[in-house]
């Protein structure tokens, strides 16, 4: 079973903490991969918060294709970070030849464009990169967005950490929000894109479980937005639902839970907002999930949240100190990175709540 975890901190945190959080849950996953998304970046990326960074894993040919597309679109590279990879023998990793983390300035024609237009450009460019590199699997474009870095790799998470030098803590490569997954591959073929966390336009989700309504979720989402593609994993649907609800419809986060796990009809009838809740259930019936899931998500404003399916069939625990909040599938993960916290204040979210962490690290529990 996949293990998932997330860290949100007042101070910048190195991904080694996320690796430790996940490593202690090692018995719960099968070492078939590790992925993480870092948001609200510090260190070497701190000066480029407004400019988009491309996260790419590719072959030489893929890199050429990507450079061609970005160049043609008018993007100008302003910064590049190439991780010092440790290609020592014996590591369990199916590494790609190149890992590219490049920050770009927008094309000149977009200099005065509103944010929304720039965002659409970034998404369209990433989709174009993905499509171009999909032929012959020459590369994988995970994210192209300001203040975000995505890393996904196939292999043993510990070895992946070693490969990228992520075990050695430093202040050059840090973030305030890190979401991570150690993977239990339940697909026959290991697909790089299928690894969580998924990212789209500032939104991140990762999940632990199965989505039994995958088919109807997917069939519905596929026509909602051209960026809703891939569906390599049944959990990708959660990202698109979040994105659709929060960005496209402009609804507050609290309604996410109402969409994916609607209240029983009888309970809705007792509520004052029954008109709204009924309308939501009707209109978005195909975004409901019925399966066992814990979903961790992040919003563009770096709000971090976690919620579960309506039957609470997957575990998750939230531990917190004054400076850091961590979500983990198993409590041993939090014990590892926050041994001194007051574990009596740990939260085990129930089937009807969302636990939300804002940028002051205030922990809110919203009842559905």
């Amino acid at each position: 079973m996949c293990r998932i975890g997330a860290i949100k901190s007042l101070n910048y945190v190195h991904p080694s903490r996320a690796l430790q959080l996940m490593n202690s849950q090692q018995k719960g996953h099968d070492n078939s991969g590790f992925a993480m998304v870092m948001q609200d970046l510090g260190g070497i990326f701190a000066d480029y918060k407004d400019l988009p960074t491309l996260s790419l894993a590719c072959t030489d040919e893929g890199l050429k294709i990507a450079e061609g597309i970005l160049g043609a679109a008018g993007f100008k590279q302003v910064f590049e970070w190439i991780p010092e990879t440790n290609r020592m023998p014996g590591l369990d990793i199916k590494a790609m030849p190149n890992y590219v983390f490049r920050t770009f300035d927008y094309p000149e024609t977009y200099a005065k464009s509103p944010a929304k237009e720039k965002e659409e450009l970034l998404t369209a460019t990433r989709l174009k990169l993905r499509a171009a590199m999909e032929r012959g699997e020459t590369g994988f474009a995970y994210s192209f967005w300001p203040d975000v870095i995505t890393l996904k790799e196939i292999g043993d998470p510990r070895d992946i950490g070693t490969f990228f030098g992520l075990w050695d803590e430093n202040d050059r490569f840090t973030a305030k929000v890190i979401t991570a997954q150690c993977r239990q591959n339940t697909n026959y073929a290991i697909v790089r894109y299928a690894a969580h966390p998924f990212f789209l336009q500032g939104y991140t989700t990762l999940a632990n479980g199965e989505n039994t309504f995958y088919q109807k979720n997917k069939e519905f989402q596929a026509s909602l937005n051209p960026a809703y593609i891939g569906f390599e994993s049944d959990s990708q649907c959660f990202l698109y639902t979040l994105h659709y609800m929060h960005r496209e419809l402009g609804w507050p986060l609290s309604y996410y839970k109402h969409i994916i796990t609607p209240l029983p009809f009888e309970e809705v009838q007792k509520r004052e907002d029954r008109e709204q809740l009924s309308a939501i259930r009707q209109s978005l019936a195909h975004l409901e999930i019925n399966g066992p899931n814990t979903i961790i998500g992040a919003l563009p404003d770096h709000t971090l949240f976690v919620c579960c399916d309506a039957k609470k069939l997957r575990p998750i625990v939230v531990g917190h100190t004054k400076e850091m909040v961590a979500f983990s599938s198993e409590v041993c993960g939090i014990n590892e990175i926050m041994p001194d916290r007051d574990w009596e204040t740990d939260i085990y979210p129930n089937e009807r709540e969302i636990v939300v962490i804002d940028n002051t690290l205030e922990v809110q529990r919203w009842k559905q």
């Binding site: 309504f213 507050p252 019925n290």
Partner: protein
Amino acid sequence: METVKINDLACNDLPWKVIYDTTRCTLCGSCVAACTFGAIKPRIERRRKAFSDTETPEPKISFKAVPVITQLNVLKHYCRGCGVCERVCPNSAIRSERNPDSRFNVVYQTATASGPKRGGRNNLENQARTLDTLRVGRISQMTDPSLDAQRHTFDCLAPLGRILPADRLPFTVGPDGKLVPTGHTPPTSWIYPVIIGDMSIGALSWRMWEAVAMAVAYLNEECGLPVRMCSGEGGMPVKLLTSKYLKYTILQIASGHFGWNRIIKAMPKMIEDPAGVLIKIGQGAKPGDGGLLMAAKVASHIQAIRGVPKADLLSPPNHQGLYSIEESVQKMFLSMNAAFKFRVPVAIKVAASATSVSVFNNLVRDPYNIVGGFFMDGIDGGTGAAHDISLDHTGHPIVSKLRDCYLAAVAQGRQGQIPLWAAGGLGKTGNLAADAFKMICLGANGVFTGKLILQMAGCLGNEHSRCNACNTGLCPAGITTQEPTLVRRLNPDRVAENIVNYFLGMDQELRKLMAPIGNSALPVGRSDCLVSTDKAVADRLQVQYVC
């Protein structure tokens, strides 16, 4: 010796033969009294008997006139094989048997210049049903656990009413971060996904109608199942229209417009809104013919409800005054919505047809947001009369057409906006839960059924042309007749009890199917749950093929 008149009708020309055993018969007369078709009658036969009344055999012959029961070889009174004679005979002396050598289809037409008409069961459906080649093949396991059908709660409700896409919901975000409604949304109700299909009060006896209404009220008020029934064309008694039970009934307006004058007159006195309005454009079971309520069934109360004389009443297969989708949407839907002040969902019922996807595609783009449901009726089913030729050779199966409509909605990202309801041969094997579940997985929001309700009531018919006399007014079970003596055969309390029990059983079964796939809400469109053992079916419906 009598001359053979080859063109005379013989019992062997008829579809059923009455088998009679004089040695068991006590001549009680029960069978003759009970046969509603007058297919048997008492007759005197002259019997020759050899006997001896001495110690050494001295055969003598005696002739005796013996009363017996015989079958009539009269077209008007042909035996329908209902088996009522066998039911009432205390000595098992009589029964009907299917006649494989029947010349009925030929002799009927040559004698009457008309094809036979009958209640709506087709005879030609002798291959395996499509639904029976489908199985629920996805069983949730450790990673996606199945549910406990007894312990978990399930939300078995389906929408009736136009559903706006989320981006058109009239909401704004209030100062407290809550969504606030700022406008009108079309009326929608969430009801049980199995509706009692439209059978008119002319087609059914008043006791049957009463029984169905009772069952529905009981299911709603005592069992918590919001089951709805549909009135069928033909109107409703004013007493029911002005009762609180109207809220469980979907009023049908159809091509004959029967009873609508009364409904409109009753509106000011209605204390409840109806559950919905169903505009019947086409029907599945009597395709091309329309339902034919024979004059024999137009009893005085039917005349009163429909406002018609005692004459054959045809519900034409289509609305004679509507020739386009725009017209139907504007004229019918708008007026029907307006009549109930836009509080009641208005749905449309069409026949499954090679063209029904086009109709559906047009309606999902309806700019008035007024089509509250797309009811599709397939070839199997029905209680009204139609010609044999239509029943046997016209019509469209429902399963693939439902799937086509759902996939058409998927292609446009409009699934669920007009709820899909489908019927036509569902529950034919007696297991409606399985059929409903499979249809829902294929994309239906819910299903409706009529014929099975008759079976619950004790209908003696079967799928092999037994009885099929719903149209004659001679229903031997008292279900589809207005003949007072026959109607009394039906015990409405028992019928209501049967319907309630069946629905409760079916509801359990529905949960038993939802549990293993791990769903607590209806699996609309979850075709990934289904597998088919028939490659052609699998390909056509886009489900997995298994063998």
